[in-house]
């Protein structure tokens, strides 16, 4: 009797595991089969050679997605630049310093932050952050890569904080005690023992945050200006892969070359997020073994 129950539970887990693999492969197949006509007719090289994204040009359509990739990475990496230190500091505070009462206040606040609809964040970027940036840097407007980075950072922050906090809390108490017993202060213990021991988890958290940032669409679309030009700094307008799909997919004729090349953009985005997540996983497992 017990055996039947145990076995059926096992199979349910196995089934849901298989299902998620199946869905993943299904999405990959969908992207690839829809990209194929474009890859065949335009050629992979056209997507990755110098130039612009302009499939609807009258004379010679261009399909280069290099500027889009660059914009995506600028927004993603830019957000990491301030999310990682901020997220880790918050996580360390919550895990190590905060009194239970403070934690009870902060945790729900962070969860609410995670629940803000991305459209609303986009508004926030347009009316608050962008004017601020234009004032600070003396620009005509603040609709640029930096604005996108800040907003995506705000979106990724809750993920990074909660995963990094898990990692820090998972550091065995014995390490802290050993350090304190040697005469280390709480701060020295946190900096030299606890955070390094949690480093794998923190790196993984940051990468997952970045994975999320890279795929983020609507906020970025509202915040970055979506120019197709080659950005030369964070104060330039950029267009990301995901924003590009969202902007054009609604108007493109189904089945056209343009339609299929948007799937190529999606495929590239998918591969990038996949690799980033894989990296997070590898780091997590590698460092968990110790040192």
């Amino acid at each position: 009797m017990v055996n039947i129950k145990e076995n059926s539970i096992k199979y349910i887990f196995l089934l849901s595991g298989l299902l998620s693999i199946f869905i993943l492969l299904g999405i990959f197949y969908l992207l690839f089969s829809n990209s194929y006509p474009a890859l065949r007719d335009v050629g992979i090289k056209a997507f990755f050679s110098r130039g612009y994204w302009n499939p609807t040009a009258y004379s010679v359509p261009q399909y280069s997605i290099l500027n889009l990739i660059k914009g995506t990475f600028m927004v993603g990496a830019g957000s990491l630049l301030f999310v990682v230190p901020l997220g880790v500091a918050c996580a360390a505070y919550l895990a190590e310093v905060a009194a239970p009462r403070e934690r009870e206040i902060f945790k729900p606040v962070i969860e609410i932050l995670a629940g803000i609809p991305s459209v609303v964040l986009g508004f926030f970027g347009l009316v608050v952050v962008a004017p601020l940036l234009s004032r600070i840097f003396g620009l005509p407007n603040g609709i640029n890569a930096l604005n996108g980075s800040i907003l995506v950072g705000i979106m990724a922050l809750p993920t990074v904080i909660s995963l990094a906090e898990d990692a820090i809390s998972a550091v065995p108490q014995e390490y802290r005690h050993a350090s304190l017993a040697l005469g280390a202060t709480r701060w020295q213990t946190l900096k030299n023992v606890t955070v390094p021991a949690a480093l794998s988890g923190i790196l993984a958290a940051s990468l997952l945050g970045m994975g999320r940032a890279i795929g983020e669409t609507i906020t970025v679309l509202m915040a970055t200006g979506n120019a197709l030009a080659d950005p030369s700094s964070f104060l330039d307008s950029v267009r990301t892969l995901s924003a590009n799909i969202a902007i054009e997919m609604g108007e493109v004729p189904r089945g056209s070359l343009h339609f299929h090349s948007l799937f190529v953009v999606g495929l590239v985005l998918f591969l990038i997020t996949f690799i980033v997540n894989l990296l997070a996983d590898i780091i997590f497992n590698r460092y968990r073994e110790g040192v």
């Binding site: 390490y175 050993a178 040697l182 005469g183 280390a184 202060t185 020295q188 030299n192 023992v193 110790g290």
Partner: protein
């Protein structure tokens, strides 16, 4: 203790030289004969006076009076839950970390009250090292484990750190086994090696008192033997207080034994006396019960 001192490079004197006013130095007497009389003076290093301790409302220690003599090995024995660990952790104030805990009475080291408000707890913990029951090396390299203490106490010079690491590992009888793999993870060592590494890590900050909480309870007999030998040699330079569950171990390695029961210190005396002619009936019952 009166004025908190910050440590600098110059305060760490290499082991070969002797610290000017160090209280540790010479082996005074023949361990095996346990002849206290040959010792010029039996200076007390640690003294507990009317010590009572609470975890919240739960009383864990009651009115403990205990003297611990410098450069001796003092064993604390008694059944599980009688307060041995609690007593040990009071001496380097690790119990400060437990919220709601309360100390009454006094603990003196070299005559200074360690619970006086002016005491620098960081400096106290450097002077009073603690070796835990479970080996707990950091997930860092062997070298970094030993260098950790000196580093946080302000030693930066690589040559100095190298010297401290080597001396400490030698003192902990681990050097020969690890000298070619200092850059390896400490977690790659065996349990017994890890415990000696933890001892080396404590020795690296040059403590005066060494507290050991059942340091061999997680180890096999061979590793236990090595740690016991080590304790014997360390007693020349340190005042050692060891908690042990194992009465044969107490008999083998200690000079003085104190028997705890239900939060009270029932009896303290020379180890040979405690194990052959205990004064208190409860001590006798505990010892004979265990020896069978």
């Amino acid at each position: 203790m009166k004025e908190p001192v910050k440590l600098k490079d110059k305060d760490f004197v290499p082991f070969k030289e002797e610290k000017p006013n160090s209280s540790r130095a010479v082996v005074y007497y023949d361990k095996k004969s346990n002849e206290m009389g040959k010792r010029p003076s039996r200076k007390e290093k640690v003294r507990a006076e009317k010590l009572t301790f609470y975890y919240g409302t739960k009383q864990a220690l009651q009115n403990i009076n205990l003297d611990i003599i410098a450069n001796e090995v003092t064993a604390l024995i008694g059944p599980s839950g009688c307060g041995k660990t609690t007593f040990l952790r009071i001496i380097n104030r690790m119990n400060d970390l437990i919220s709601g805990s309360k100390v009454e009475g006094n603990v003196f080291i070299d005559g200074d009250d360690i619970y006086h408000p002016d005491v620098d707890v960081v400096e106290l913990r450097r002077r009073v090292g603690l070796v835990f029951q479970q080996p707990n090396p950091f997930p860092k390299t062997i070298y970094e484990n030993v260098a950790y203490g000196p580093r946080i106490h302000g030693i930066r010079k690589k040559a100095y750190l190298d010297e401290i690491v080597e001396e400490s590992l030698k003192q902990a009888a681990l050097w020969d086994e690890v000298k070619d793999r200092l850059k390896d993870s400490a977690l790659s060592l065996s349990g017994g090696q890890q415990q000696r590494l933890c001892i080396a890590r404590v020795l690296a900050v040059r403590p005066e008192v060494l507290l050991m909480d059942e340091p061999t309870s997680a180890l096999d007999p061979v590793a236990t033997q090595r740690i016991e030998d080590l304790i014997g040699t360390l007693a020349a330079n340190y005042t050692i207080i060891i908690v042990t569950h194992n009465m044969q171990q107490a008999a083998r390695i200690s000079d003085t034994t104190a028997f705890f029961l239900l939060g009270e210190m029932v009896e303290q005396g020379k180890t040979s006396q405690i194990f052959t002619r205990p004064r208190d009936r409860r001590t006798e019952e505990y010892i004979t019960g265990r020896f069978g």
